[in-house]
Symmetry: C2
DNA sequence: GTCTATATGTTGATAGAC
DNA sequence: GTCTATCAACATATAGAC
């Protein structure tokens, strides 16, 4: 792994735990066993770290959504696939996903604009799938907004849950979460 | 309203938008149309603001949970009451609730310890209710952990949704959210 | 209760030696 | 690629005049 990737990974962990603003370049350097000045040989500044971490994960979501949309499946199956996409990204990019969720508002300039656009597009695509499920009668006739709010609230929190759990429990989550989110908890 | 309460309210708004660490005492003073030094005639420091905001909301949750536990109702009805409790607190303490959710880890000393204890107790009480619902057959036999994770993920996000919505939409949420969370979105 | 002035430490980032 | 030394700006907080 390149030194730059190591820095990004360490930054993701620290940002996740204390938040972007509370982590200093000195903190990051110390965690890497080096001096703050040396970081600048690998990255242009603190903002570049934040933007790199967040936009990489954001693009993973977009790529995943594109794949789901291409599949010719029912709305229910598509929703299921999206739930699994969130779990997969939470497993693969746990820390960077936490940063995306909690520190996106500290992005500046073009990176901020890009993130906002990616998020808006993703949510719009998700809503279309839910709406088509209501039309086909697969889903209840509840406000699409409320439905998406509930789904995304849970999906966006998965990263908090994942690191505390064993592989078996993660397997349970993959099986139970689509069930809970789509068919509820009542008998 | 006392000057102190005005400061707390303004701080809650700023902390919600940019996070505790990114908001300076100068920012807060400017938003209050005063100088930073003057703030210290009303509060002992930045930490006191954070602790006051978070612990007040945390105690609201504890009080609400105590009331729900006293009621002699079904687990389903209790879960429904808790969902409404979260909506009520999100409406009444929108900004302070956001601060609790995103900046609790910046609490220091005794306030930190107190918050952690309150949260742990609340989650334990919530789990007991879910467990009793599984025992009575009201809820599916799914992992209580996963069930609570899903419920709290959504309930903890309500504050993000509330400020964007009209009174009618909030009324919809009160009606639809218990339904979605407890009985799912599938037909 | 608010101000100006200031103490004391920390911030992101750069220059230049090795 | 990493270091030491440093800068200019900004942080929380206090002292004391009005």
């Amino acid at each position: 792994m390149t030194r730059k990737k190591q820095i990004l990974q360490t930054a993701a962990l620290l940002f996740k735990e204390r938040g972007y603003s509370a982590v200093t370049m000195r903190d990051l350097a110390a965690a890497m066993d080096m001096k703050a000045a040396s970081l600048y040989n690998h990255i242009s500044g603190k903002q570049e770290i934040l933007a790199t971490l967040i936009l990489e994960v954001a693009h993973e979501f977009t790529t995943g959504m594109d794949a789901v949309e291409l599949d010719d499946k029912s709305a229910f199956a598509k929703a299921e696939q999206l739930i699994l996409l969130h779990i997969k990204i939470a497993l693969e990019y746990t820390n960077a996903l936490a940063v995306l969720n909690t520190d996106w508002m500290h992005l500046e300039g073009a990176a901020y604009q890009e993130y906002i656009l990616l998020r808006k597009t993703y949510e719009l695509d998700f809503k279309k799938i839910l709406q088509s499920g209501i039309s086909t009668g697969e889903f209840k006739n509840i406000s699409v907004e409320t439905m998406l709010f509930n789904l995304l609230s849970t999906l966006r929190s998965i990263y908090l849950w994942i690191p505390k759990k064993s592989a078996t429990e993660v397997a349970d989550l993959k099986k139970e979460l689509p069930q809970i989110l789509l068919t509820g908890i009542s008998s």
